[in-house]
């Protein structure tokens, strides 16, 4: 009798008709172990056959932050509201790296996995989700480093974080993660047809960083069109909120935060719609 229940339980109906929005989360949940394995693999493989191994996880963002400190802090003399430059840039690069990773990695979902996707079916959404997870883990690792510097500067009395707002950090991550995934899967769905986008995306993300208060605080921008544009930028508010929590300095305007959430949801819904359409037949066009 077990056979009968199983066959009924796993009945699949395939048709040529496409649904516009189909979020089969139940199926994704069945494949949760795959998500975990994908995430593990990302880390396991990245530093294989390197001498420093996992130390790169720290070294990379640290060197970036040092570079930013020298270029933007010491040479360009950007004011960070009294926050020590190195701490400001460590925190900023941590959160931005999370967001940029979410976009960059997801942008290659279809093209870099074409090999596997073409041979076996599993819910394609597992790949973007595991990408977000590994970006989040990377973020946590970087936050350890931020924590060390933060502890030092708090003891020196140079920084006073809003501890209560730390509870909002997961929300910031969720916000940026969903947004990044949304943009990422839109790009990846379109790259199956237009490879140009894949080339553009890393440049675009870099450009986006300069349009987001990462190497400078939002408060440094004088009122005007530029500030409005930067505030409409959906990545700005969650990042300012994050810095408000960690560094005690940041400009959070609730209206713009809500706007950012609206954009995020629109993007992710649109993304899943396009993803749904593409995942069925992308093997024929990739």
């Amino acid at each position: 009798m077990l056979e009968v229940t199983n066959t009924e339980k796993y009945h699949t109906h395939i048709t040529s008709k496409k649904k516009w929005f189909e979020l089969n989360l139940k199926e994704v949940w069945q494949y949760r172990d795959l998500i975990v394995l994908f995430t593990k693999r990302t880390f396991a493989l990245r530093y294989k056959q390197t001498i420093l191994g996992p130390i790169w996880l720290f070294l990379n963002p640290f060197l970036t932050s040092v570079m930013y400190t020298v270029v933007f802090g010491n040479i360009a003399k950007i004011d960070t509201n009294g926050i020590p430059h190195i701490l400001f840039y460590l925190a900023s690069t941590a959160i931005w790296a999370f967001f940029a990773d979410s976009i960059n990695r997801n942008a290659q979902t279809f093209t870099s996995n074409a090999n596997v996707f073409g041979k076996v079916y599993f819910p394609r959404l597992t790949v973007p989700i595991s990408n977000i997870l590994s970006a989040a883990i990377q973020f946590c690792i970087q936050m350890l480093m931020v924590g060390i510097f933060l502890a030092y500067y708090v003891m020196q009395g140079m920084v006073s974080p809003n501890w209560l707002y730390f509870l909002l950090i997961p929300l910031c991550l969720l916000h940026l993660g969903i947004m990044g995934m949304g943009f990422g899967i839109i790009i990846s769905s379109l790259t199956t047809k237009y490879r140009d986008l894949g080339i553009l995306v890393s440049f675009g993300v870099q450009l986006w960083m300069y349009g987001t208060p990462i190497v400078y605080p939002l408060s440094e921008i004088g009122d005007g069109l530029l500030k409005t544009i930067i505030m409409i930028n959906p990545a700005t508010m969650p990042i300012e909120l994050f810095r408000y929590a960690v560094l005690g300095q940041g400009t959070v305007i609730p209206e713009y935060l809500v706007l950012s959430w609206i954009i995020t949801i629109v993007v992710v819904v649109l993304g899943i719609m396009i993803f749904n359409r593409v995942e069925k037949t992308f093997m024929d066009t990739v």
């Binding site: 056979e3 009968v4 199983n6 066959t7 009924e8 796993y10 009945h11 699949t12 109906h13 395939i14 048709t15 040529s16 496409k18 069945q30 494949y31 949760r32 172990d33 795959l34 975990v36 394995l37 693999r41 396991a44 493989l45 294989k48 056959q49 090999n115 596997v116 996707f117 073409g118 041979k119 076996v120 079916y121 599993f122 047809k193 237009y194 490879r195 140009d196 986008l197 069925k280 037949t281 093997m283 024929d284 066009t285």
Partner: protein, 430 residues
């Protein structure tokens, strides 16, 4: 076997799959934007071929053209057909890798598909890590994999290397490991595309046994695509033949195979040798092999040991003396098996058409389809061979297993060749 009370495992109705030929979508956003912009302004699409309404890329190809098929639970279904007949496309649709253009598919049960061995294997990871990865991709949970881990390692025969990165594996080990994972999946339906064409003989046999077990004992449904008719014979109890995206035969395995091999090798009992056969025409048209007929059979199919009786005729313009015939025999895959020569020579008077009857002994042939090039030649006064005529291929016939054969020897053509030499005699000690 009443089909009404059997559980349906897979049902396809009117399934079609269309592919576009040529460069898909033009490849660039620019091209598409150009076309779109032209359409908006009501101008001619710059990417259109002159005189055509469709985009240059608009040619299509029906890989599957209306497939209706019902597979019942516990069936082992073989799928055969020439390259491009749509076999792999069908499996791709069933394993949800791509969606059909038209039609509906119902699948009752979980599908484990092996369209390729070792999908998702990563060279940097160890055998064990890859088992987890591969299993998860195929839809197992970690707990399920843990429970089966021992069986998988045992079956794969690579226990010593299980914690070594698979990039250091030999290709055989790689394949063994990958097959083991797929064979141990908890699924109701197994889809396999020619995966057994790898690994050594012993392992191939083991795989077949395992798959048969899966189908007959555990009641799982197996869909198997192969060009190797022997594995189809051993594994399947039903077989379909695909041709140009359509099912042209559905039913008994032997019948399906003969339908398919007949299709490619044109097994017929009568040949008239038109100019196409005489491609290697060196002598003038004075000696021509005209036609050939298999005698006293309805199909050129013979059991091992049976005599093949053939009559063929040659037309000559001048007289030829001491003509002999050579039968260069090839196996169905084109490998040369050996050559037979007529035991005595024939004389041909001028301006005659003469029929010659021959008998071929098949005692030492193995099962399969053989095609024979028939060549006429003679020796001149100095003992040099001179070529008179040849037909390529002259004729084909199939050798099947002798029904009385009691030995359980399954001939392995790939490694043993196509000739079963006389038995080795064990001399009794006196």
């Amino acid at each position: 076997m009443s089909e009404n009370n059997r559980q349906i495992a897979i049902k396809l109705s009117g399934v079609k799959k269309m592919y576009k030929l040529g460069q898909i979508g033009g490849g660039t956003l620019q091209g598409d934007l150009q076309s779109w912009w032209a359409r908006i302004r009501g101008k001619e699409d710059p990417n259109t071929k002159i005189g055509q309404n469709q985009r240059l890329v608009g040619q299509t190809f029906m890989a599957l053209n209306g497939i209706d098929l019902t597979v019942y639970q516990g069936e082992a279904l073989g799928i055969i057909g020439a390259n491009g007949a749509g076999k792999s496309t069908m499996l791709k649709l069933l394993s949800k890798v791509t969606a059909p253009t038209d039609g509906e598919i119902d699948i009752y049960g979980r599908v484990a598909s092996m369209l390729e061995v070792g999908t998702g294997f990563n060279g940097e990871m160890t055998g064990r890590e890859n088992i987890y990865m591969n299993g998860a991709i195929l839809g197992m949970t970690k707990a399920e994999i843990d429970a089966k881990m021992e069986d998988i390692i045992e079956f794969s025969e690579v226990r010593e290397f299980i914690d070594t990165p698979v990039k250091r594996y030999s290709s055989g080990m790689y394949v063994k490991l990958a097959f083991s994972v797929a064979a141990h999946l908890d699924s109701e339906i197994m889809i396999m595309d020619e995966v057994l064409a790898v690994g050594d003989m012993a392992f191939q046999k083991k795989c077949l046994t395992k798959m048969r077990e899966v189908a007959s004992k555990e009641g799982r449904t197996v869909l198997y695509v192969s060009h190797n008719m022997n594995t189809i014979r051993q594994l399947c109890d039903r077989c379909i033949v695909l041709d140009k995206g359509k099912i042209i035969f559905d039913g008994d395995v032997e019948k399906a195979i003969s339908r398919y091999t007949g299709e490619i090798n044109q097994l017929c009992t009568h040949y008239e040798y038109t100019a196409n056969y005489h491609k290697d025409r060196r002598s003038s048209d004075r000696f021509v092999i005209k036609e050939l007929t298999f005698l006293s059979v309805s199909q050129p199919k013979y059991a091992v040991g049976e005599k093949i009786v053939i009559s063929f005729s040659c037309c000559v313009l001048r007289a030829f003396l001491d003509v002999k015939f050579r039968f260069e025999t090839k196996y169905e895959d084109g490998t040369i098996v050996g050559t037979m020569v007529t035991n005595k020579s024939e004389d041909f008077p001028a301006n005659t058409t003469k029929s010659i009857s021959i008998s071929i002994d098949t005692t030492y042939l193995t099962t399969g389809i053989f095609s024979v090039d028939l060549i006429a030649f003679q020796y001149d006064n100095f003992g040099n061979e001179s070529y008179l005529d040849g037909v390529y291929p002259g004729f084909s016939f199939e050798i099947i297993e002798d029904a009385n054969n009691t030995s359980n020897l399954v001939w392995n053509h790939r490694y043993w060749g196509h000739i079963h030499l006389p038995d080795v005699v064990i001399v009794e000690d006196s």
